[in-house]
């Protein structure tokens, strides 16, 4: 089964986090050690190359050390870039199998969802569990950002442009859709509900939607 957006993000994020914690701890740990070890004490004499008023300080340091550090960083960063590029392709390209396509329009201050049957629903996005959901997102008035943080995806909702994201929810339940780009007085309340239903329930609801027209 191809990875969900949640899994893609979390896998990459954890990789970054592990490396971040290692690198951060090592660097900060070395700093703390050096400060304690080489702190000024009366017994410590002034080093030979102490800069003094009256002369330009001598050069100090081996370029090799810096190159080794840069080389090491490049390796770590290349790993992260490689992981990133793989993940991006995953995030931008939904799996091929059957999907539900919904148009999303952000406006001040909520979201409306237009289903394939042309019906529009405000503030609530209902989808069947287990199916790939493809969203085409745009903004009606100003720059918004459509984000579902439980599925680790978001995309900008810009007037005149349509952006595409996808996700799949395996567990039925209620999730939060929120706006992540500052858009005015109601930005904090630009919240919609994402309701993931059992496939059967969704089918019933969806056909009911058609009839209401």
């Amino acid at each position: 089964m191809p990875a969900t957006t949640y899994e893609t993000f979390t896998g990459l994020f954890n990789l970054f986090m592990v490396l971040a914690i290692i690198v951060g701890s090592v660097v900060l740990g070395i700093m703390v050690y050096l400060i304690i070890r080489h702190r000024d004490r009366p017994s410590v004499p002034d080093p030979e190359d102490t800069p003094t008023l009256g002369s330009i300080p001598p050069e100090r340091g081996k370029v090799k050390t810096l190159l080794v550090s840069v080389g090491f960083s490049t390796i770590v960063l290349s790993l992260l870039i490689f992981g990133t590029f793989g993940a991006v392709d995953n995030l931008l390209n939904p799996p091929e199998k059957g999907s539900l396509e919904v148009k999303v329009v952000g406006f001040r201050f909520n979201w409306k969802f237009v289903y394939p049957n042309g019906q529009e629903v405000r503030a609530e996005l209902r989808v069947p569990a287990g199916e790939v959901i493809k969203l085409s997102v745009t903004g009606q008035d100003v720059f918004h950002n459509f984000g579902i943080y439980d599925f680790k995806i978001k995309t900008d909702a810009i007037p005149g442009r349509t952006n595409h994201i996808w996700f799949v929810a395996h567990q039925p339940g209620e999730y939060t859709i929120q706006c992540f780009e500052f858009c005015g007085l109601g930005h904090a309340t630009m919240i919609s509900k994402l309701i993931v239903m059992e496939p059967e329930e969704f089918k019933n609801w969806y056909s009911g939607l058609e009839v209401k027209a």
């Binding site: 050096l34 050069e59 340091g61 810096l66 960063l77």
Partner: protein
């Protein structure tokens, strides 16, 4: 006003009219610290609001203004000016100069900065301060969604600030490249001065982009042009223009701090900086790369994935020079003798916080991770770690470091250490929980309890107050020590840079005789004793014939303030501004102001370029960037548009061709004027200048006719994008022609009185450079608007 003197430090006259770089440095210091506390208070108000879910302390409208003004003030009116207070005070000292290259321009920079801040704060009284986020995204900033005038007033403040910055840039570039003491090659410069040199070059290339964006925004809001409100331009166009400025800007606020750390470390570790020249190279590399990473602010806008992958690569690449800088600074601690006084504590602390902030920035460089992290508190935490932890903490260290030199007194070390501990704890309590809020959107006025975000928010609020209160210790300490601090002497820290070779506080003229650096790197000093000659009372330094006061530096800034306010409120105030501007510029031009030029200075690589010419070239560079941004915006919206008027359908090629001919001929007459001046022929000079004036006026007249015809045909500002882009771009060009004509009038009046002949022709040459530039811009505009 006698030369070489200044009124005493307690007199208002001294501070209103000084041009001395040290005084200006103190003015910037005090003003920027005021803005720090002001914008910091706004932040604390926000933190109170966010302490618990569904808070009601601030309304949505108030919160939105607070978050916007907090960001704008902190980044533009606090951080850089704070850094430049030290740059003003210490760069001339570190390079062995008497003052900046253009002291009156320096004073102008400060007053423009102050008045621009007043404009920004006045916006609160015009309906509402800007409440659109410091990033001013479109179309939210359009008059449709942000109708109140406060947004225009804030934009006017931004324009004025950019003018101040441009003046500072020109001044520092010429000073550092032109006024170094004999033997002080660029490679010998202390790291702080190096960082300022790189910073001002970045400012030169970045700020004009912001100016272009604000000009277009202003035009959209007042004239109804369609750049940011149309779908073809719109959000993405502003995104590109703003972030092209915005990303270099955040390094602009960081590099002076890195430079300060680079000066503090050798002094407090008693060893040279490790890999100093690689640190310098890395700063330069980071500065250059910073101009090609801006797309990481646009990762999820839907631009081409190939482009976003490129920006991931470039953003990750920019972390490499920072890696070198950090490692080199940490290596500097090895086998050192580290004196943990307040400057060192803040400097080393800032490196640690910068490491954390930098690492989390790498997360944001990944376009894949950005799909979740964008617009969340992870971003907020990252940039506060680097900007506050990395930059502000280092600059506070610099304040403690240089306080003894500025005031001649030592601050209280125990209170300073308490400040450090409290601020460090408060800082981490405030910002670290925000990493855990990586689901929480930015700039929301409130959140619900079910999200579970409350505990971290509460912790952050507590941390915020501890952090804010800790800085009161700084102010109390420094103020009290003014009176009761131990006398510092010239070199309390045993530093090696030139500023420590003169008394504390330094005399007005800095060095009794110019320092000279021998080939072996030895500084030959001639001013050794520690007695301050600039304590209280008037200073008489009779052997020096230079001016340190100008009565015509506040008025131009006030005129600019009135003029820009008039751009918002209407013609009466606008015309008053023009009148004040004319009066002040004439006064400025006529004022006698002497700057003592050193016979010998290091000028590489500009040995044969006179200093004013270097200044004019620098200024013209910023103009090139400005017009590149404006023309780039035009090309962008054109490329996004499905259709555009055919050649000749709207614009008359004849009008354009005639104007081109007129303008090119005027360049010829400008050259003829210079030749006449060099030859000593006053009559020919005046005739050529008059011809240039006539031709320039004919250009404007012709353009006016053209615009009138277009209006008649229904092709006005708000008609369409082709119209908007035409009027904005050619209008900006026309404004530059008009400015040139104003200068010409001044030159002609002076020429009638016999100026500018035989050796005095340089002003005409400088005008010529500006005029040719304006003509070259037209040579681009003509084909781009009329022929394609």
């Amino acid at each position: 006003m006698s030369e070489g003197t200044l009124p005493p430090t307690w007199s208002l006259k001294r501070w209103l009219f000084t041009t001395n770089h040290k005084d200006i440095g103190i003015l910037y210091l005090v003003t920027s610290i005021y803005f720090f506390f002001m914008a910091g208070t706004l932040a604390l108000l926000m933190r109170v609001q966010l302490f618990s879910p569904q808070g009601t302390f601030l309304s949505s409208a108030s919160y939105n203004q607070a978050v916007t003004v907090h960001g704008l003030i902190m980044i533009l009116w606090f951080l850089s000016p704070f850094a430049f207070s030290f740059a003003n005070y210490f760069v001339p000292l570190q390079i062995g100069a008497r003052d900046l290259a253009f002291p009156r321009l320096n004073a102008l920079s400060y007053w423009f900065y102050l008045f621009s801040g007043i404009l920004m704060l006045m916006s609160f009284f015009f309906g509402s301060a800007p409440d659109v986020g410091w990033t001013l995204y479109s179309p939210l900033t359009s008059s449709r969604y942000t109708p109140f005038l406060g947004m225009n007033v804030g934009a006017a403040g931004l324009v004025m600030l950019v003018i101040s910055v441009t003046m500072t840039t020109v001044n520092f570039i010429v000073t550092i490249l032109y006024y170094r003491a004999p033997g002080l090659k660029l490679k010998h410069m202390p790291l702080f001065s190096w960082s300022i040199l790189v910073t001002v070059f970045m400012m030169l290339y970045a700020f004009p982009s912001l100016l272009a964006g604000v000009i277009i925004l202003f035009s959209d809001r007042t004239l109804g042009t369609l750049y940011f409100t149309s779908n073809e331009g719109g959000a993405l166009l502003w995104d590109q223009i703003f972030w092209f400025f915005g990303h270099p800007e955040v390094y602009i606020v960081l590099f002076p701090a890195i430079g300060a750390v680079g000066d503090i470390l050798p002094t407090f570790t008693r060893r040279p900086l490790y890999g100093r020249k690689y640190i310098v190279m890395s700063i330069i590399a980071a500065a250059i790369i910073s101009f090609i990473v801006w797309g990481h602010h646009m990762f999820v806008t839907g631009i081409n994935p190939i482009v976003t992958k490129f920006f991931t690569l470039s953003t990750v690449a920019v972390s490499l020079p920072f890696d070198v800088i950090t490692i080199a600074m940490i290596e500097s601690l090895v086998r050192a003798k580290i004196r943990l006084k307040a400057p060192a504590l803040f400097a080393i602390g800032s490196i640690a916080l910068f490491v954390i902030g930098g690492i989390t920035g790498v997360f944001l460089a990944s376009v894949a991770l950005d799909y979740h992290l964008r617009g969340t508190y992870w971003v907020v935490s990252h940039f506060h770690y680097v900007m506050v932890g990395g930059s502000v903490m280092a600059l506070i260290g610099a304040l403690y470091y240089w306080y003894p030199k500025i005031t001649g007194r030592m601050y209280n070390e125990a209170i300073a250490k308490a400040h450090f501990i409290l601020s460090f704890i408060g800082f981490n309590l405030l910002y670290f929980p925000m990493y855990l809020l990586l689901d929480m959107p930015r700039r929301i006025v409130t959140y619900s309890a079910e999200t579970g975000w409350a505990p971290w928010n509460s912790m952050a609020t507590v941390g915020g107050f501890i952090f804010g209160v800790s800085h009161l210790l700084l102010v109390a300490n420094l103020l009290a020590s003014l009176g009761s601090g131990k006398p510092a002497g010239p070199n309390p820290w045993q530093g090696w840079t030139l500023e420590w070779s003169i008394p504390s506080p330094p005399p007005i003229h800095n060095f009794d005789t110019t320092p000279v650096i021998s080939d072996q790197g030895a500084l030959l000093l001639t001013n050794g004793d520690g007695h301050s000659t600039a304590a209280h009372g008037e200073v008489h330094v009779s052997s020096v014939h230079e001016t340190h006061m100008s009565y015509w530096t506040i008025l131009p800034a006030a005129a600019g303030f009135v003029f820009l306010l008039g751009m918002v409120t209407g013609p009466p105030v606008l015309l008053l501004g023009v009148a004040l501007g004319a009066v002040s510029l004439i006064g400025y031009g006529k004022e006698k102001f002497t700057v003592r030029e050193e016979a010998v200075t290091e000028k590489w690589p500009f040995e044969r370029v006179p200093k004013f010419k270097l200044g004019v070239w620098t200024f013209l560079t910023s103009e090139i960037v400005l017009f590149s941004a404006l023309i780039g915006a035009y090309l962008y919206v054109r490329s996004q548009s499905a259709s555009w008027p055919a050649v000749g359908a709207v614009f008359s090629i004849q009008h354009g061709a005639v104007n081109t001919f007129i303008l090119l001929t005027s360049s010829l007459t400008a050259v003829m004027a210079l030749v006449a001046g060099k030859r000593g022929s006053s009559k020919a000079l005046i005739a050529s200048l008059l011809a240039t004036l006539s031709l320039g006026s004919a250009f404007l007249f012709n353009k006016g006719l053209e615009w009138f015809e277009l209006f008649e045909r229904g092709f006005a500002f708000a008609t369409s994008l082709p119209a908007s882009s035409y009027y904005i771009t050619t209008g900006a060009h026309g404004a530059h022609v008009l400015a040139g004509l104003a200068i010409l009038v001044y030159l002609i009046v002076r020429a009638f009185r016999g100026s500018y002949v035989k050796g005095d022709h340089h002003t005409v040459e400088h005008f010529g450079l500006y005029w040719h530039f304006v003509d070259i811009v037209w040579v681009f505009l003509f084909p781009l608007f009329y022929l394609i």
